[in-house]
């Protein structure tokens, strides 16, 4: 029995690594890179946990997972119970176990950091959810008393799915509206198969549908119907439409043919399955020498996708250094292992092309780091006269995304800030209009899946208290319409 392992013994163990596909092989396929723990690995790792009381890890988890409990269940080899423990608060465990930056969340506060590496909570979460999926472990829910109130969720990304699942478990009738033909938002169109297999997204979405959540795809809120119209039909609305609009650098040559936004490049490959062209109809082009601008997770995804699609050489240019790069350390390592070349302290100033629109190169300028700026990071400054031309034939712009105004335009009295994001109460996710809540990237700009999940949970709670205390967006909106 695990309980028998004495603490000093447990503490001697080092973190169990997770096996991964060989970099040389994986650059030629879209299969998942990490292979996951075996049961033996998981038990070994779980046995390291000291079961702190109070547990510092839980504080770092926006999904409010009962971390020590589920780890103890693994120790006792009750994998199904471990899964059900997680599912109580997090409806997307297999996704979280893969794409949540645990090193910044739960694992950051793990007591082991004082002497070594933290418990691999993410890998354990991934292990139990994969195990449960293979067994198709069902959650037995107590009879849910229907509350007879309707909630609309705009967007089926991590924030929307979480909020919908939590509300459905409370007895609300939830309808999710999704603009694309498949649910999942960024989990589906943005994150590549080799990091988050789509069958996992589909499985977890199906589980949420089994809770009674209705999913309407091909429905663009703001065009098919506006928020104001939905406000007449639903008792509350949660806006979680993401920050979907790509940003460009506004440098000359950005509209040449083979300049992609990361959104386009990844959407073609992930959502439309262009990596299987012509078996799937959507085409995608990839150059011989590709450069990706930016050093966030999306840049790593784009660069690694380009490699898998057949690019001979892929560079990432970033105007600061590796230290400031916003991508997860793990993603940078993965990219490096696969042979992606990083050009730090490099700023593109112009994309060059021929008259047919083909990209022939990218002019850059070298940078140096100056004094810290408002973000606390040292400000990159151009070194005059250091311009040079990179010989590339394709450019992917991954400098970030911003708010798409379509949803907000259709929402009277829902305030947005200068950048087009909904302004909300941090705790309740309430917007300026009663009965309308918002969360995820459309309230903060592109961030992480886990922060979106956290928002979804907070909003679900606030919507429950709004509706429980007699609030109804539908009634208020209809009344207002009649009186005007």
């Amino acid at each position: 029995m695990a309980d028998m392992i004495p603490t000093p013994e447990r503490m001697k163990r080092s973190q169990r690594p997770m096996p991964e596909q060989d970099p040389k092989k994986r650059v030629r396929n879209f299969d998942e890179v990490p292979l996951g723990y075996t049961a033996e690995d998981a038990i070994y790792e779980a046995q390291r946990c000291l079961q702190c009381d109070p547990p510092p890890c839980v504080e770092g988890c926006p999904a409010e997972i009962h971390i020590p409990q589920f780890i103890q269940e693994i120790v006792e080899e009750n994998f199904a119970s471990a899964y059900l423990d997680i599912l109580k608060t997090n409806s997307l465990p297999a996704m979280c176990g893969r794409v949540c930056p645990q090193e910044e969340q739960c694992q950051r506060t793990c007591i082991y950091n004082k002497k070594g590496k933290p418990i691999s909570i993410g890998r354990l979460e991934r292990f139990v959810s994969d195990w449960a999926r293979k067994q198709d472990t069902k959650e037995e829910l107590p009879e849910i008393k229907k509350k007879g109130k309707l909630v609309a969720v705009v967007g089926s990304g991590p924030a929307g799915l979480t909020c919908a699942a939590d509300l459905a478990k409370m007895g609300y009738e939830v309808t999710i509206f999704e603009a694309l033909h498949k649910p999942g938002g960024v989990l589906t169109y943005g994150i590549p198969e080799f990091r988050l297999p789509k069958k996992i997204v589909e499985y977890e979405v199906d589980k949420i549908k089994e809770l009674g959540v209705k999913l309407v795809t091909n429905f663009v809120v703001g065009l098919t119907k506006g928020v104001d119209e939905l406000a007449m039909e639903f008792d509350a609305i949660f806006l979680a439409n993401g920050a979907g609009a790509p940003q460009f650098m506004h440098i000359p040559g950005e509209n040449f043919n083979d300049v992609y936004s990361a959104n386009e490049f990844l959407t073609r490959s992930n959502l439309m399955r262009a990596y299987k062209f012509p078996e799937f109809d959507t085409p995608i082009k990839v150059g011989k020498k590709v450069v990706v601008i930016g050093a966030g997770n999306v840049s790593m995804d784009a660069a690694r996708t380009a490699l898998r699609l057949g690019a001979k050489e892929v560079h990432i240019v970033y105007r600061r250094t590796k230290e400031e790069a916003p991508a997860r350390a793990e993603e940078i390592v993965h990219a490096e292992e696969e042979g992606i070349v990083f050009d730090f302290l490099t700023l593109p100033v112009k994309i060059l092309g021929d008259e047919k629109g083909n990209v022939t190169g990218m002019e850059c300028i070298e940078m140096r780091l100056g004094e810290p700026d408002e973000s606390g990071r040292r400000k990159p400054l151009p070194i005059e006269g250091s311009n040079f031309v990179m010989q590339v034939d394709m450019v992917v712009n991954a400098i970030g995304t911003t708010a798409n105004p379509i949803v907000a335009r259709s929402a009277t009295s829902v305030q947005t800030n200068k950048r087009g994001y909904f302004t909300v109460d941090e705790k309740t996710r309430a917007t300026s209009r009663e009965g309308i809540f918002a969360g995820g990237d459309i309230t903060r700009g592109s961030a992480t899946v886990i922060s979106a999940i956290g928002d979804g949970k907070k909003a679900a709670r606030a919507i429950d208290s709004y509706l429980s205390s007699g609030g109804s967006l539908r009634k208020t909106s209809l009344k207002k319409m009649k009186s005007s």
């Binding site: 663009v220 098919t224 979907g244 936004s261 959104n263 959407t267």
Partner: protein
């Protein structure tokens, strides 16, 4: 969800479909478009809404078979359901009472210009419509256009019907004769829209074109449809599809339109081989 109610072959390789889509029909306005997918493996392609019936909950799309997706769409029959249909997307045409206006439709662009023409006339305009195609067989929606406009002029490249020549030549003649044309709409293949813009430019008459860019999501998410208009980058899907033709960077637009030409050809050929089996 989106059942094909009526299918008509209105010219060789040109198909008209009425599709069940009550929510889209309720909101659709001239100038807007939908994104269509035939099946799960399909591409997302934008098609202009050629008409809508709010009461019956139908939208009409008209397309010419040019590649794999349109070929697959042409093989769907009444009663079949589209895998996906989303809309109405893009900004509607600005329909006002301008006085005298000219609408020009080339090829399947006739289907796009039709609801604009009709609504312009309903708004009180005198609408001179010019439609044209390569040859007589390819002139579509003639009767509808005749009803929708105040005056209908027809051209064919080979002279087999109406006047011999291009729609742009006729547009030039109309502008020379009538001094009071306030606005022009020209929709068709890119070279035609560009040529129409060139014809109207010396007259200083605002000329609206509807850009048929490549799109994926159609809601401003991917940016594949971007085009330079008056020196600024615009997204056709959300800022358009209509723009002032005098301000469009045509060479860039046409380059971007041809980006996937080779792959599209490859995919269409493979599909035809497969079906030929």
């Amino acid at each position: 969800m989106h059942r094909i109610i009526t299918k008509k072959k209105i010219a060789p390789d040109i198909i008209s479909l009425d599709v069940e889509a009550p929510l889209i029909a309720k909101k659709a306005e001239p100038g807007q478009f939908v994104i269509v997918m035939t099946d799960e493996r399909g591409e997302r392609i934008p098609l202009t809404i050629a008409d809508y019936d709010r009461k019956k909950g139908l939208v009409r799309i008209v397309f010419v078979v040019v590649g794999k997706t349109t070929a697959k769409l042409s093989l769907m029959n009444e009663g079949d359901e589209l895998f996906s249909l989303v809309g109405p997307l893009g900004k509607p045409s600005k329909i006002n009472n301008y006085g005298t206006v000219v609408t020009v439709g080339g090829g399947t662009g006739i289907a796009s210009i039709y609801p604009i023409t009709r609504n312009l006339k309903e708004a009180g305009n005198k609408v001179i419509a010019i439609i044209g195609a390569r040859t007589r067989d390819l002139i579509i929606m003639e009767e509808e256009m005749r009803k929708a406009s105040t005056e209908l002029l027809i051209t064919t490249d080979d002279g087999s019907y109406g006047r011999k020549g291009f729609v742009t030549e006729l547009l030039g003649e109309v502008l020379r004769e009538k001094k009071n044309v306030k606005k022009v709409w020209a929709i068709g293949p890119a070279p035609m829209m560009r040529a129409a813009s060139d014809v109207t430019k010396p007259y200083g008459i605002e000329t609206i074109v509807s850009l048929n860019s490549i799109m994926v999501d159609g809601t401003g998410m991917c940016g594949t449809c971007r085009v330079t208009v008056n020196g600024e980058t615009k997204f056709v899907c959300v800022d358009g599809p209509e723009f002032n033709g005098h301000l469009v960077d045509w060479p860039e637009f046409m380059n971007r339109l041809a980006r996937y030409e080779q792959l599209e050809k490859l995919s269409f050929e493979a599909y035809r081989r497969e079906r030929g089996k």
